[in-house]
Amino acid sequence: MLEQIEGSQAVARAVARCRPEVIAAYPISPQTHIVEGLSDLVRTGELAGCEYLMVESEFGALSACIGASGAGARTYTATSSQGLLFMAEALFNASGLGLPIVMTVANRAIGAPINIWNDHSDAMSMRDSGWIQLYAESNQEAVDLHLQAFRLAEQLSVPVMVCMDGFVLTHAFEPVDVPEAKDVERFLPAFEPRQILDPAEPVTIGAMVGPEAFTEVKYLMHAKQVQALDAIPAIAAAFEEQLGRRAGGLVRPYRVDGADTVVVGLGSMLGTLEEVADQLQADGEQVGVLGIKCFRPWPREEVRAALAGARRVVVVEKAFAVGAGGIVGQNTRLALQGLPIEVYDVVAGLGGRPVTVASVRELLGRVLAGEIDPMRMHFLDLDTALVERELDRSGATDRPGPHAENMLRDLGTVASNPA
């Protein structure tokens, strides 16, 4: 039933209908309303047969999930920002052990400076942790991706992250259809674990592996992710056939046919990018959008096929590799190797700065006019005067003090407030 509800609450209900048997979470900021909603559903008995573990940290949360998943339980958790980083060691364990845990990451920035707002620094910092990463464009897609994530995780025995933009999606009220329990049951049958810790038939999960087979175990991790490149579109197709809605998949092209400029993005900014593409097309510019729905595994062939006809590709992303460049941008270059296409790295929306139609439109205008250097990373809406004042100050005295505080004082901001 279509309802007007908050993103986090919609996801909580969808996860509950996926019938997890263990949920472990640490209830401090940065957390989401998702696990709060789920704890209510467990308490009231609406989500029966689920053990809700309140643990002592995010490291504890994912460690508990690893144990529960190893024991054959369908397992779920959620986190964001520093919480995800605190899980880092356990993330690699979950994927290395091939445990089909599903986790929502409500994407938020990583400090310092302290910042609670949205960007993709958290998930992107864990891009090589061996987890599949799916990115939701809307709350409807976030809901639908959770159903697909459990099916994918359990089919391949890999952990899956569903990334949804913190605040922008998690706190937004919009129309969402949470699939009915019977439909979810049909799409996602009961979990049949591929490996199980059972006292009656003891096995070891997590044996020490030396140089004789470590490479081979890691090779299989990679091979499984490559398999996911087939499984993800197949699951999205099965979802569409049963639920009658498109969600997920690897990439989603929008008006790219005949486009000589394509903007690549992920997550909730896609609607904005599509709006800009429509405006520019109306002005006679051939501009399209490619949404990356799955970032890990990286759908190299699909990205290449979708962008092959373009002359310019502008990758707009909410994170970057400090000292190197764009992250999605570098992956896109890899996909386009050998093609005569200029790739532009654009960093936008860091720490909660809105990615606006006006800014993206202006950016594309400058790209089309040849004013942006494709060899240099571009920061959307960068306040260069603010940066220059701070650089001057830093050069002028021996002890200029901390950048963040100096720049806030410069702006006349008492406490950080992006509005």
Binding site: Q4, W117, V168, F173, P175, M269, T272, P354, P418
Partner: protein, 193 residues
């Protein structure tokens, strides 16, 4: 698309007001989206929430910088926040105040807007009368329905009753009706004049 920006202070239900407005529009078969300014929530600090109402799916997610309507829950914000930023000449303004435009020193603003689109309503007093508490958020939505016609008072009252169960729902509904009627009476007396 019709964009609404709601200004209030932490604790006044600013975010709830935007959510309720979106649910009211959704009940009428429209597409709606509500979201807060994202930040650390502190009682008494200025808060902004947004609501977009449309007849097609809404894909924009940026904060509303050019609102079609403003709801100001707390008149003391007039001296602290640039409330009217981005408001066009055809914009609507609903102010929660027991004073009038001249007393608030807003003659310039009033001159820049269409007179029938600017309304002052003592929503806090009406809320105090009907709820026993100075919480003007649901009440103001009644006034918004009267001023703009973007949602009906029936939808507003229905979602208020749904959100606040029991006596609190009835009292908030009564406050919403009272505010609605207050705004409507002023509008009618203006058009008679």
């Amino acid at each position: 698309m019709f964009s609404v920006r709601i200004h209030g202070r932490g604790g006044q239900g600013t975010v709830t007001a935007a959510e309720l407005l979106s649910v009211a529009a959704f009940r009428e078969g429209r597409h709606a989206q509500a979201f807060p300014t994202f930040g650390s929530e502190r009682t008494g600090a200025p808060v902004v929430a947004f609501c977009r109402l449309g007849n097609a799916p809404i894909r924009l997610r940026e904060p509303i910088t050019r609102p079609d309507a403003l709801i100001v829950q707390d008149p003391t914000l007039l001296h602290q926040v640039n409330l009217f930023a981005g408001l066009g000449a055809d914009g609507y303004v609903l102010l929660n105040t027991s004073r009038d435009i001249a007393e608030l020193g807003l003659e310039d603003l009033a001159a820049s807007l269409r007179p029938e689109r600017l309304a002052c309503v003592p929503a806090t007093e009406l809320a105090r009368e009907h709820l026993g508490r100075p919480l003007p958020n649901a009440a103001l939505l009644g006034g918004f329905a009267a001023l703009t016609g973007e949602v009906t008072i029936d939808s507003v009252v229905a979602v208020v009753r749904e959100r606040f169960r029991g006596p609190a729902g009835e009292r908030n509904a009564a406050a919403a009706y009272a505010t609605h009627d207050h705004v409507l009476e002023r509008m009618e007396s203006r058009s008679d004049a």
